[in-house]
């Protein structure tokens, strides 16, 4: 299972945040909004920041489950991990 964070922040901003928080996964800079557009994480190309959405992809990169709207920041990681276990096995 791989975790990847995506935003429009620069690689330098992402690196600083990841080091500060001790993230063990990559953060990607999607400055051209390619991924955000495909995954409808933005409502318009001019949007300054992407919406908070999470997508679960299988080994082929195919979308299997998505969380759009209503994400409770504190509880979301546990919910995602639980669903990952259900989808992909422990």
């Amino acid at each position: 299972m791989r975790i990847v964070g995506v935003s429009f922040d620069s690689p330098e901003e992402n690196l600083a945040w990841a080091e500060r928080e001790g993230f063990q996964y990559e953060l990607w800079s999607d400055v051209d909004r390619e991924l955000a557009s495909y995954f409808t994480a933005i409502d318009s190309p001019e949007q300054a920041t992407c919406n908070r959405v999470t997508k679960l992809l299988d080994c082929d990169g195919t979308l299997q489950l998505e969380y759009v709207g209503g994400i409770v920041v504190g509880a979301h990681p546990a919910q995602v991990l639980e669903d990952c276990a259900a989808l992909f096995g422990p």
Binding site: S29, L56, D58, Q64
Partner: protein, 176 residues
Amino acid sequence: MRAEPLLELSRGESGVVMAHWSPAVGADDPTSWNLYGGDLMRLGEGGHEGSPVGRCGLAGATRELVLEGHADQPGHAYYLLTRFEHDGVETGLGTDSSGGERAHLHPCRHLSACPSGGPLIARGVDWSALHGSEPPETLPVPDFTVTAMDGTPRSMVDLVGHATVLWFYPAAATGG
């Protein structure tokens, strides 16, 4: 010696066909069961759909499944096979007439390093219960180019080979 699980089919009062399986007497405490099924007419064809054991239909500790839309199709015979696991290792499929081990072409997802696409009902996931909606459209992600924290480009290749949690966040230090 480990005994194989027994599979039983029954028809409920409402007409639905149920499959129940349980370890035979003497089974050595299997940790979970995997249920495979397919069209009997295609058994042995090989290739994408045909398989000696069919596609994974359900995996996990559950022992019961409603066979909605499978067993009652006119003109088709549907077969089912249960396999059980011990510590993540599924029992073998025996040998073919030449003595070779039967290949397992479509193992349940959690048994495969990188399973291919297919009906995603592993572990009995109920979409509506999980998410309150239908499954999302399942199209492969098109190629893209983004930049990792160290300046390295990332593309579609980097999403293949692993199940991935793709987490979009508004900006650094916004949490969640």
